[in-house]
């Protein structure tokens, strides 16, 4: 018995077939993972399902519990019990949890909101998702993980039968992921059907009962979890046998280039709180140093403060190539040969209203200008070279970066920092939210850079990536490095136990 059947769905945009006779069938009460590279058609399929693309703009049939349905808008889909939770949460930050849960559906009597009823019912829904906060709490005081649970509570309050989660764990810490997984397992027991879109194979394999793979707008296969493996799913997603997900290269780390001694960083708003506490470490030319740790452990703060971009107070010594340096701002850092590819490229990495060319040169305008006057031809030439070197897929150099896919946007950010000719390249979550193919290209690029003598610090939450790429791994926990592991001795278990504060 299928709870949802999408049969032969075809959706065309001018010039592109986004979905090509996709068939997607979900059994009642199961967690069904939907996997595919970026651009494979996952989001389009879900937009068709949730009524965002109304009936008539696609061909094919959608059946719920065996009856054909035709959604004209999102409200129709909601009435049929379909709710979607997007990657970027859609809560009103200044309203309370209760108000958000009932937003647009407030219990009313003669047009007057029944606050007691609203808060009472909200607390019931919060219980159902295991979130222990008062419904009067303002959203902004909650963590991202808690906000996600509020979204789920909101969806459940609408009598949802089919819950769609789009990359729900992208912004969650490990412990929040745990909670979310528990909730989803609870919901499965209660008979809620769940469609789970994710890049992360361990999550998919832990949660899902079945897995459907999309590629290039076509449904490739639907498999039961027990009869498949991570590697098989990944090879189905990319359409080729991935013999190795992490390109290997012989590396010979040379002399020490960066030394950080007794380094502490304080939180800018809470002057007594240390986000990095008495850290010492070194980095050698031609090596990749992996920094693992949970979100909020102080990894990004270390990166941004070394880069001169963190606002809190700092203390300690930084030596580059045997010279003590004082980095007061980003410009100093660039001059000393440090580059930082920040996490969250849309917020911190790119100017979306500008094009590929101008984003590429933004941190190195001095290289293409004289007395503050730019040479547009030099700018074209150098950005063109980076587009070729990184194999960035873009219609032209004048294409706005907002129009590129995630992987290509990331390549533009990396190009920006390669152009500054760094000696030390810090990558903060360099492959988050980008597809497998682009990931592999970025790994290859890292190998190439290391080969050229660049020293790389890679911060990542994805343990396989840390294990696959690093020569040395430092694990951070509550602002300190608690463990150092060589490539040979490192395992996921060792890293996790150190990162979560075990094995001290």
């Amino acid at each position: 018995m299928y709870s949802l059947e999408m049969d032969q769905i075809t959706k065309e945009f001018p010039g592109v077939k986004a979905l090509d006779r996709v068939t997607f069938k979900v059994k009642k009460g199961e967690i069904h993972a939907l996997c595919g590279e970026n651009g494979a058609g996952k989001s389009t399929l879900m937009k068709v399902l949730s009524g965002l693309y109304p009936t008539g703009t696609y061909s094919g049939e959608i059946r719920i519990n065996g009856t054909p349905v035709h959604f004209r808008n999102i409200k129709d889909a909601e009435k049929a019990g379909i709710a979607i939770i997007h990657q970027e949460l859609a809560l009103v930050k200044d309203l309370t949890v209760g108000e958000n849960i009932f937003l647009g559906a407030e219990p009313k009597k003669y047009g007057v909101i029944q606050w007691d009823q609203l808060f009472y019912e909200s607390s019931e829904w919060l219980n159902a998702v295991g979130l222990n906060v008062a419904p009067q709490t303002k959203i902004y005081s909650l963590g991202i993980g808690q906000q996600q649970l509020v979204e789920i509570a909101k969806a459940l309050s609408k009598n949802t039968k089919i819950l769609i989660l789009d990359e729900p764990t992208a912004a969650l810490t490990e412990s929040e992921v745990e909670i979310l997984m528990g909730i989803l397992e609870e919901l499965r027991k209660k008979g809620v059907t769940c469609i789970y879109i994710s890049h992360k194979m361990p999550e998919v394999f832990r949660l899902a009962d079945s897995i459907t793979v999309l590629r290039d707008g076509k449904s490739i296969a639907t498999l039961s979890k027990d009869e498949t493996s991570e590697d098989e799913i990944i090879s189905l997603m990319v359409g080729r046998e991935l013999t190795e997900r992490y390109p290997q290269a012989e590396r010979t780390p040379k002399e020490t280039i960066l030394e950080v001694k007794n380094y502490s960083v304080w939180h800018p708003d809470m002057p007594k709180m240390k986000v990095n506490d008495n850290i010492s470490f070194s980095l050698r030319k031609g090596e990749i140093l992996g920094i693992a740790g949970l979100m909020g452990s102080g990894r990004s703060e270390l990166a941004t403060s070394l880069f001169g971009a963190y606002e809190g107070k700092r203390e300690g010594e930084v030596w580059i190539e045997g010279k003590k340096v004082h980095i007061r701002n980003v410009q100093d850092a660039i001059n000393e040969g440090i580059a930082l590819v920040t996490e969250d490229r849309k917020r911190f990495g790119l100017v979306l209203s500008m094009d590929v060319k101008t984003n590429t040169t933004l941190a190195s305008l001095k290289k293409i200008s004289k007395w503050g006057v730019m040479n547009h031809n030099e700018e074209m030439k150098s950005s063109q070279q980076f587009v070729q070197k990184l194999k960035t897929k873009t219609a032209s150099l004048e294409t706005k970066v907002g129009a590129l896919s995630g992987g290509n946007q990331q390549k533009v950010v990396i190009a920006k920092w390669l152009m500054s000719k760094p000696k030390i390249l810090i990558l903060d979550e360099p492959t988050r939210g980008i597809d497998v193919g682009a990931k592999y290209e970025i790994y290859q690029l890292m190998n190439q850079l290391v080969n050229e003598g660049v020293a790389i610090i890679m911060i990542s939450s994805e343990l396989p990536e840390i294990l696959g790429m690093s020569d040395r791994i430092l694990v951070m926990n509550e602002g300190r490095f608690v463990k150092e592991l060589t490539k040979e001795e490192a395992t996921q278990e060792k890293i996790m136990s150190a990162a979560t504060g075990g094995g001290k």
Partner: protein, 393 residues
């Protein structure tokens, strides 16, 4: 090696169709020019005097103050800020000019320098508050708008100060001789041709694609005929009005700053995404402060033109000019969200506003109608802009 790279680039950059190339020319600017032509034809048909050389000469003189203010305003808005104080700075610095000229009897050059310095200092103060003290520009300049007007009333004791210095007055009301106009036109065309040839040459040297020669020639011919037409029209009255030269000069300088300097690029980056700009090593604070200095400086230039044209400083001089300047920017395609906008667009926007003012006054329309029409045009322009952007998506 060099050759190889060039060859690769040639194959890599796709051959572009004519449509792409025309698309790359600033379509917006050309539609705006179309709008001006339509407005002029409209008033020209309804009113015999509108399209006379005399009226057009007046129109250009009238638009000069708004244009100069709009040039500074564009950059401020592009960076994601706003400057509501420019009208009051015009009033204040105009008052200072009159005081130095009339009460103190200073020579013209001293008056000009003092006025410009005053404008820059006022801008610096506001810029410092916005950039380094993180007070929203809306508040700082709203406060400035009131405070500067107050200072003006205080120092002039709320009187109108006439100016008798003929040299100073000439800055706002003199005309260049016909000969000068012709020389200027020839010079402008020659520079245009040289710049185009040079650009083509360097681009070819780099192995980049260039526009088809025919299109390039058409563009030159079009712009040249505009220049010639302008000079002939002005010469058939009294010659090119002095203030217009300020506008042209400042427009060229600031367009260059916006498009060809790292400072300009920084401004656009800050307006587009200030966090990303900061993390790319751009000193946001100093850039922001500099913007307000420019804005103050340009307000002082506008004050000189205005005070000279009216040959007196009044306490109401420049009132509401900030709104005209903002409207000019917005009509000219500057986004109030920051990150996009052009100088040339703002000047065309100023021309639209002034043409409406001038045309409606000539037709003897009641003042209240003029306000209603100008307000509606502003909203309409942004509406069309937003609607067309949605379509493009």
């Amino acid at each position: 090696m060099e050759l190889k790279v060039t060859a690769q680039q040639k194959t890599n950059v796709k051959k572009k169709s004519l449509k792409d190339i025309i698309g790359k020319i600033d379509v917006r600017a050309y539609t705006m020019i179309g709008a001006i032509v339509a407005i002029w034809l409209f008033f020209g048909i309804l009113n015999d005097t509108f399209l006379t050389a005399r009226n057009l000469s007046n129109l250009f003189t009238q638009m000069s103050v708004t244009s100069i203010l709009a040039i500074g305003m564009v950059l401020v808005i592009v960076a994601g800020h706003i400057d509501l104080s420019v009208g009051s700075i015009v009033g204040l610095t105009g008052g200072i000019a009159a005081i130095f000229s009339n009460w103190m009897g200073m020579p013209t050059i001293v008056v000009i320098v003092v006025t410009l310095v005053a404008g820059a200092i006022v801008g610096l103060l506001q810029g410092w508050l916005v950039a380094y003290q993180a007070i929203p520009a809306f508040i700082v300049t709203l406060g400035g708008m009131m405070a500067f007007r107050g200072i003006l009333m205080g120092i002039t004791k709320s009187t109108t100060i006439p100016i008798f210095d003929a040299n100073f007055i000439a800055l706002g009301s003199a005309y260049f001789t016909n000969m000068f106009g012709i020389v200027l036109a020839i010079l402008a065309v020659v520079i245009l041709v040289i710049l185009t040839i040079r650009k083509r040459k360097t681009r070819l040297n780099y192995g980049f694609e260039v526009m088809p020669l025919s299109l390039e020639i058409m563009k030159i011919l079009f712009l040249s005929s505009l220049i010639v037409l302008f000079v002939i029209t002005m010469n058939s009255y009294k010659g090119i009005p002095f203030p217009i030269i300020f506008v042209i000069g400042l427009a060229v300088i600031f367009s260059f700053i916006a498009n060809n300097t790292t400072f300009g690029r920084h401004i656009y980056a800050i307006g587009g995404n200030s966090e990303a700009a900061r993390l790319s090593g751009i000193n946001i604070k100093s850039r922001t402060m500099m913007l307000f200095v420019f804005s103050g400086l340009l307000s002082a230039v506008a004050a000189i033109v205005l005070t000279a044209r009216l040959s007196s400083a009044t306490i109401s001089a420049g009132q509401m000019y900030e709104l005209d300047a903002i409207a000019a920017c917005v009509i000219g395609g500057t986004s109030l969200m920051g990150g996009s906008g052009t100088i040339i667009g703002a000047i065309i926007g100023a021309m639209v506003m002034t043409s409406l003012d001038n045309g409606m006054s000539l037709m003897g329309l009641d003042t209240y109608w003029q306000y209603i029409v100008k307000g509606s045009i502003l909203v309409l322009a942004v509406w069309i802009d937003i609607a067309s952007r949605k379509k493009n998506k």
